[in-house]
C-alpha cells in the first residue's frame, strides 16, 4: 500500500514574494484579493474583495499590495520539490500550490511517520511556508484530507472511506480546480452534503448522472494504491533563497540563514550524489541583489560546516550593505561525488584534510595570497619556476643544482662596481665562477656569466654579469 503525504501551501502566492510580515500584505490577481496575510485579515480584508475595497478598509502607508506572480510561485514550488527530493524520489508538484510525496517506502529510514512529518514540517516552517498536510493511500484523498481541521496525522491507519466520509462537497469543488463543479452543484441541490453520502450512492446511478470521468475520479479517491510512472528528476544546479522578513543589520544575523541554506545544499548534493567546489552567495534587497560573492574550495565536498567556515571568513572582510532582507545560495557546477577513503589505522586520521588550510587562508586573504611553486624546464633561473594557484605537480628531476641559490629575487638586483670591486651591502668577494647560462635566443637573447660571491657578513650570494650590457646583478642567496 502506498502512502502519500500532501503538502498544501495556501499562502504560497504571498509567501513566494518578498514582503514584510509584520505589516498587512495582500496579493491581487485581476484586481481581486487572492491571498492576504494575518495582519490584512485582521483589518477585515477577505479573499475575493476588489482592490478598491482593500484600500477603503485599510488606508495605511504600510499596506503592501503585491501583484500575483505565477512564475515566482512555480519557481518556489520547484525549489520545494528539490528540498522534498531529500526525503523521497517519488514526488510531484500538485496543482498550483501543492506537493505530493510518496513516503510509504522510506518510513523506516526516518524512524517512523511522526518523526518524518515533524522533520519536514519544521523545515517548511523555517523556510517560511505555512502549510496543511494530508496523508492517505492515494494523492487525491491526501489532498482532500489536507483541508481537514485536524493535524493531518489523525487516523492514518483507519479505513480510508470512513476518514473521507465527513468531508463536505464544498471542498471537492476546490479540489480539482473546479473541473466537476457542475456535477457537484447538482448533487448538492439533490441534498447530498458530504463525500460519505456520495460514496454510498449506487455507482450505476452516479455514472448515469455525472458521467464516467466523475466516476473514475471517485474511484481514484478511495483507491488503496496509487503511483506515478516517473520519479522526480532534480535539476543540475542548486538555487535556493531565504527571506528573513526583516532588515539585517549585522553579519551575525545572517549566520542562521547561511547555515540553513548550506544544509539544504548538503541535502541536495547528498541526494544527487554531486559535489561542488564553488558556491555563490547573494545578499538580496526587496528589489534586486545588493551584493554577490563567491566562496571557493580547492576540493569538491559537501560538508556544510566547512562551507560555513569558509563563507564566514569571506563575509567577515565585506561591508554589509543596507536594506538586506534576504539571502540566496547558488551552486552551478557540480562534479560527481568522489568516494573518500578513510585510513583506519594510520596516524593521519586525526588530521584535517590538507586542502582545508588553503581554503581557509584564501577565504580570508584572497585567492592570490596563497601559492604553490611549480617547476618548468628552462635554463634561466627566473623562468625555471612559476607560482600557481592550482596544485603544483610533482617536480621534474633537477640535476646539477648544487651551485644554485635557495632564495631567488623577484627581480635581479643591480650591483655597483667601484674600481674593480663589486659592492652590495659592502664589498663582495668572488668565490666561484664563471658559469655561463644562455637562453631565450628566439625572443630576447640572454647571455650571463654566473658567480658565487661572499658578502662582507660572510653570506654567499649568486650574481651574474650580463654579457650584453656588462652590468652586474645579484639574483639570489646561496645557502
Amino acid at each position: 500500500m502506498s502512502l502519500w503525504l500532501c503538502f498544501r501551501l495556501p499562502q504560497l502566492p504571498l509567501e513566494c514574494l518578498p514582503h514584510r510580515q509584520e505589516y498587512p500584505a495582500v496579493v491581487l490577481e485581476h484586481q481581486r484579493v487572492a491571498v492576504a496575510n494575518d495582519a490584512a485579515l485582521a483589518a477585515g480584508i477577505k479573499p475575493g474583495q476588489s482592490s478598491s475595497t482593500v484600500r477603503a478598509l485599510l488606508d495605511s502607508p504600510d499596506l503592501q499590495l503585491l501583484e500575483r506572480d505565477r512564475v515566482q510561485e512555480a519557481g518556489a514550488l520547484e525549489q520545494l520539490a528539490c528540498w522534498a527530493y531529500s526525503f523521497t524520489p517519488t514526488l510531484e508538484r500538485w496543482q498550483e500550490n501543492g506537493l505530493q510525496l510518496e513516503i510509504g517506502r522510506c518510513l523506516k529510514l526516518y524512524n517512523g511517520l511522526e518523526r518524518l512529518v515533524e522533520n519536514a514540517q519544521t523545515d517548511l516552517l523555517q523556510r517560511g511556508f505555512t502549510h496543511r498536510i494530508g496523508l492517505a493511500s492515494n494523492r487525491y484523498a491526501a489532498e482532500l484530507l489536507s483541508y481537514g481541521e485536524d493535524d493531518g496525522l489523525h487516523g492514518v491507519g483507519q479505513n480510508l472511506q470512513e476518514r473521507l466520509a465527513g468531508i463536505p462537497l464544498a471542498i471537492l469543488h476546490r479540489a480539482r480546480g473546479g473541473e466537476f463543479s457542475k456535477a457537484l452543484t447538482s448533487l448538492e441541490n439533490a441534498g447530498i452534503q458530504t463525500l460519505g453520502e456520495l460514496l454510498r450512492m449506487p455507482s450505476s446511478a452516479l455514472g448515469h448522472r455525472c458521467g464516467p470521468a466523475f466516476q473514475k475520479w471517485l474511484k481514484a479517491i478511495v483507491a488503496t494504491h496509487d503511483t506515478v510512472t516517473h520519479d522526480f528528476q532534480p535539476p543540475h544546479k542548486f538555487h535556493d533563497c531565504l527571506w528573513f522578513g526583516f532588515e539585517i543589520h549585522n553579519q551575525a544575523e545572517l549566520h542562521p540563514g547561511m547555515q540553513q541554506l548550506l544544509q539544504a545544499l548538503t541535502r541536495f548534493s547528498r541526494a544527487t550524489q554531486l559535489q561542488t567546489t564553488c558556491i555563490e552567495w547573494q545578499m538580496l534587497r526587496l528589489h534586486g541583489v545588493a551584493e554577490t560573492f563567491e566562496v571557493r574550495s580547492s576540493e569538491a565536498h559537501n560538508d556544510p560546516q566547512r562551507w560555513f567556515e569558509l563563507s564566514h571568513l569571506s563575509l567577515e572582510k565585506r561591508n554589509l550593505g543596507t536594506d538586506i532582507e534576504g539571502l540566496a545560495l547558488h551552486a552551478n557546477h557540480f562534479n560527481s561525488q568522489q568516494a573518500t577513503m578513510t585510513d583506519l589505522f594510520g596516524e593521519s586520521h586525526s588530521r584535517e584534510p590538507l586542502h582545508n588550510l588553503i581554503d581557509r587562508l584564501r577565504s580570508r586573504l584572497g585567492l592570490q595570497a596563497v601559492n604553490q611553486i611549480a617547476l618548468r624546464e628552462a635554463h634561466l633561473p627566473e623562468f625555471s619556476q612559476y607560482l600557481t594557484q592550482g596544485t603544483a605537480k610533482l617536480a621534474l628531476p633537477c640535476k646539477g643544482q648544487a651551485q644554485r641559490p635557495i632564495w631567488l629575487f623577484d627581480e635581479p638586483n643591480p650591483v655597483r662596481l667601484e674600481g674593480d670591486v663589486l659592492h652590495w651591502n659592502g664589498p663582495l668577494k668572488i668565490l666561484l665562477g664563471p658559469e655561463r647560462l644562455e637562453d631565450n635566443w628566439w625572443l630576447k637573447p640572454t647571455s650571463r656569466d654566473y658567480y658565487v660571491a661572499e658578502t662582507e657578513a660572510g653570506q654567499p650570494v649568486w650574481l651574474f654579469q650580463d654579457r650584453y650590457n656588462k652590468q652586474w646583478y645579484i639574483q639570489g642567496i646561496m645557502p
Binding site: 584535517e352 601559492n371 611553486i373 641559490p405 631567488l408 663582495l428 654579469q465 642567496i477 645557502p479
Partner: protein
C-alpha cells in the same frame, strides 16, 4: 585541584624561571621537569643537536630565530629539516617569505617542493592570523613565518606559542635581532650571525650556548659545495678574473 595557581604551575607549558627547591607545591608536571620527554627533530647538524637540550628542534613551543635584514640567510639552517619533513607529505608553509624559494635547488637536494605553500598576507594582523592558522591546523609539518621587525605584543606571540604547543607542527618564527632585549614565550631562541654561526640565546630546560659554527660537511653531505671547488678561482678579487669573454 583546588589552588588555581598550582593548576597553572602544573601545566606542561608553564615554565618556572627559578627552582629554589624548598617550594611546598609539588611541581611534577611543569615544563622544567618533564620537558625532556617532548618530541624533537634532529637539526641535521650534530654540534647543534648536542647543544640543544632536547637533542634537536623542539616540536612543541616554537623556535624564534633572530637575524638582521630580512632573515633570508637563516634559511640554510633549516634545509636538512625541510628534507627530513618532506616524508610527512604535509605542507611546508612560508608566511611572508622575503623572496621566492628557488625550487630547482630545493628539489635537487631532496625537498618535496610541491609541499611548499607560499602565503602573502597584506598586513600585520593577517600575518599573525595566517601564522596561527597554519600552526594550529594539523596540515603543516613546518611553518616558517617572517614576522619582520614589527612590534608584537607578548600576548600575540604567546598565542602563537600556545598554538605551537598543541600539536606537532614545527613553528619557526623569524624576527629582527633588535627584539633581542624583549621577553619571548618561545621554547628556543637563537641568532645566526655571522653566516653559519649559531648562538642559542635561550632554551627551555637548557642553557644558552656559545657560538656554534656549522660545519659544511654536515649540511647536505652528498652535495658538492661551491666553496670546496678549485682553489685557482677562489679568493681572487673581482677585476682579476672577470674580464668578460667577448
Amino acid at each position: 585541584m583546588a589552588d588555581p595557581l598550582e593548576h597553572i604551575i602544573n601545566r606542561s607549558d608553564t615554565w618556572r624561571g627559578m627552582d629554589t627547591g624548598n617550594s611546598t607545591v609539588t611541581m611534577r608536571s611543569s615544563a622544567n621537569s618533564d620537558w625532556h620527554g617532548v618530541g624533537a627533530l634532529p637539526t641535521g647538524f650534530s654540534e647543534l643537536d648536542r647543544q640543544i637540550s632536547l637533542g634537536g628542534w623542539p616540536l612543541h613551543g616554537g623556535i624564534e630565530v633572530l637575524g638582521n635584514d630580512n632573515n633570508a640567510n637563516s634559511m640554510s639552517l633549516f634545509l636538512p629539516t625541510m628534507i627530513a619533513l618532506s616524508k610527512q607529505k604535509r605542507w611546508q608553509a612560508f608566511i611572508t617569505p622575503p623572496h621566492i624559494p628557488y625550487a630547482p635547488r630545493l628539489h635537487g637536494c631532496g625537498v618535496a617542493t610541491e609541499q611548499i605553500l607560499l602565503v602573502h598576507p597584506k598586513n600585520r594582523e593577517e600575518r599573525l592570523w595566517a601564522t596561527e592558522q597554519a600552526i594550529r591546523s594539523t596540515t603543516c609539518s613546518v611553518v616558517f613565518s617572517w614576522l619582520g621587525s614589527g612590534e608584537y605584543r607578548y600576548a600575540e606571540l604567546r598565542k602563537l606559542q600556545l598554538a605551537a604547543t598543541e600539536n606537532d607542527t614545527l613553528a619557526i618564527l623569524f624576527r629582527s635581532s633588535t627584539t633581542e632585549e624583549q621577553h619571548t614565550p618561545f621554547s628556543l631562541r637563537l641568532t645566526i650571525n655571522p653566516h653559519r654561526t649559531v648562538n642559542i640565546l635561550k632554551q627551555r630546560g637548557g642553557k644558552p650556548s656559545g657560538r656554534i659554527v656549522l660545519p659544511l660537511e654536515d649540511d647536505l653531505a652528498s652535495q658538492p659545495q661551491p666553496w670546496t671547488l678549485p682553489t685557482g678561482v677562489m679568493r681572487t678579487r673581482t677585476g682579476q678574473v672577470l674580464t668578460p669573454v667577448a
